[in-house]
């Protein structure tokens, strides 16, 4: 069990995303997950061993480290990555449910199980709201736990059994701060992407709904926007290419690579 699991999960989600959703997946893979695994993890690797206090009292260092770092930055970062990626599972489950239903009834119930309309639209919107919510919660948590996004060189500790106020030195504070800012910047970028995708989907489907009502009103019958998932309805108005879920990036490595490319 490793980050490869998350990578495979998100590759699966990519199929049902909009264009902005795919950009979000790319940002999460490359600027968050890859940076975490390739660079950030090693900075925090020996943080406890390298945390040094100006005292020989046994236990003082342990207690002071625990007091100032209740949960390490790197663990919070990992939790954030996991929690931010999981709402996408809701979409995967919903699509699987639709496909199962089609199999059970042995007939085509939906235009395409992966197309974002009807109930799947609401699931998708909820997943976006949850993703954004988790991002914001973690940013606030980082801010509150560590008094801003600064990492000091030195902390003064007077927790028992330290005999009095003791100077404790944190290892690699500048490097940690740089990567912390990088984390914050990518989080904010992901929040912006999620919010734009949310507004784009809401606008698109509101316009669609309004146009349907308008055309049906002209023909003298009432319309119902929520039944758009079933095949009996007319085809949706021609949409631009970014929204179509069949858009796929040709990112399989050539030469017969068996690995799943994260962005297809």
């Amino acid at each position: 069990m490793s980050w490869a699991f998350l990578r495979d999960l998100l590759s699966g989600v990519n199929k049902y995303s909009t264009g902005i959703g795919r950009i979000w997946v790319a940002v999460v893979f490359i600027f968050r997950l890859l940076v975490y695994v390739a660079a950030a993890e090693n900075i925090w690797k020996y943080e406890h061993d390298e945390f040094e206090c100006n005292i020989k009292q046994p236990g003082c260092e342990n207690v002071c480290f625990d007091h100032f770092f209740p949960v390490s930055h790197i663990r919070l970062w990992a939790l954030q990555l996991i929690l931010v990626s999981t709402p996408s599972l809701l979409v995967v489950f919903h699509v699987a449910y639709r496909e199962n239903r089609e199999k059970k009834h042995n007939q085509k119930l939906y235009k395409s199980p992966g197309e974002i309309d009807g109930g799947l639209l609401y699931t998708y919107l909820i997943s976006l709201v949850l993703k954004t919510g988790f991002e914001i919660v973690f940013l606030i948590l980082f801010y509150k736990l560590y008094n801003g996004f600064q990492i000091p060189h030195l902390v003064k500790c007077d927790v028992r059994p330290c005999p009095n106020t003791v100077d404790c030195y944190i290892s690699k504070p500048t490097e940690k701060m740089i990567f912390l800012y990088f984390l914050v910047a990518t989080s904010c970028l992901c929040i912006v992407l999620n919010l734009s995708e949310l507004s784009y989907l809401i606008c698109k489907y509101s316009v669609k709904c309004y146009l349907k009502r308008y055309t049906k009103k002209h023909r003298g019958s009432t319309s119902d926007c929520h039944k758009s998932g079933t095949i009996s309805h007319r085809r949706a108005a021609a949409a631009g290419p970014v929204h179509d879920s069949s858009l796929s990036l040709p990112l399989n490595a050539e030469g017969g690579h068996e690995k799943i490319s994260p962005l297809t």
């Binding site: 980050w3 490359i30 290419p241 490595a253 690579h257 690995k259």
Partner: protein
């Protein structure tokens, strides 16, 4: 998730690159990513543990290490590789968009062979030319920026054996010794040389693309006349 995933992503871009682009990709994988993972990471692995200062004052070592190495070489290289590889994704996205447009036209009734579409090599012309050229341009910019950052942060590309540190709480000017300075200098110069080669390849590719389009235009105007 590791460099292998990045390799899988970039491998797909390879199909639509020029020959120089394919050479660049090979150099990137073999002489940069592989060297970073297999060798350089081990050289820098024990950098703080073996950074020794001539004092017993607790905290002095931490503070001096942080003062002289605000961000480690190995992390800067990892970031450089990530940033330099990302523009290639723009090309991948554009190719995906082009393919999707063709599929849409097929669905609307035009006759296009789907199997051929999947394996078709998309030629670098029109809007794709602009995307490809801008991706090369960004690559060059990122390489140059990182090379400059290295130079600026570490006053050149040499790793000193000894640094003199007087940051608080060190009691006075203290000698601190860097671990494996020669090996680190060797790798720094190697990575610098490979960066230079990559930049040269990118510049050559850029010139080639521009020359190709100019020749095409002149042939068109000659044919019209």
């Amino acid at each position: 998730m590791d460099w292998g995933s990045l390799q899988a992503i970039l491998g797909g871009v390879n199909k639509h690159s020029t020959s120089i682009g394919k050479i660049w990709l090979t150099v990137l994988f073999i002489f940069r990513i592989m060297i970073l993972v297999v060798a350089a990471e081990r050289v820098w692995g024990d950098e703080q543990q073996d950074f020794v200062c001539n004092t017993l004052q607790p905290g002095c070592r931490n503070v001096c290490y942080d003062h002289f190495f605000p961000i480690s070489h190995i992390r800067l290289w990892a970031l450089q590789l990530i940033f330099v590889s990302t523009p290639a994704l723009l090309v991948a996205m554009h190719v995906a968009y082009t393919r999707h447009e063709k599929k849409r036209r097929f669905r609307n009734g035009e006759k296009i062979d789907i199997e051929e579409l999947k394996n078709e090599k998309i030629h670098i012309r029109g809007p794709l030319w602009w995307t490809y050229t801008s991706s090369i341009f960004f690559r060059i910019i990122f390489e140059a920026v990182f090379m400059y950052v290295f130079y600026y942060m570490y006053d050149g590309y040499q790793m000193p054996r000894l640094v003199k540190c007087d940051a608080w709480p060190c009691p006075n000017v203290v000698d601190c010794f860097v671990s494996r300075p020669t090996e680190k200098t060797t790798f720094t110069i190697f990575m610098l040389a490979v960066s230079g080669i990559c930049m040269t390849l990118n510049l050559a590719e850029l010139c080639y693309l521009v020359a190709k389009i100019c020749m095409k235009q002149s042939r068109k105007t000659a044919a019209l006349k």
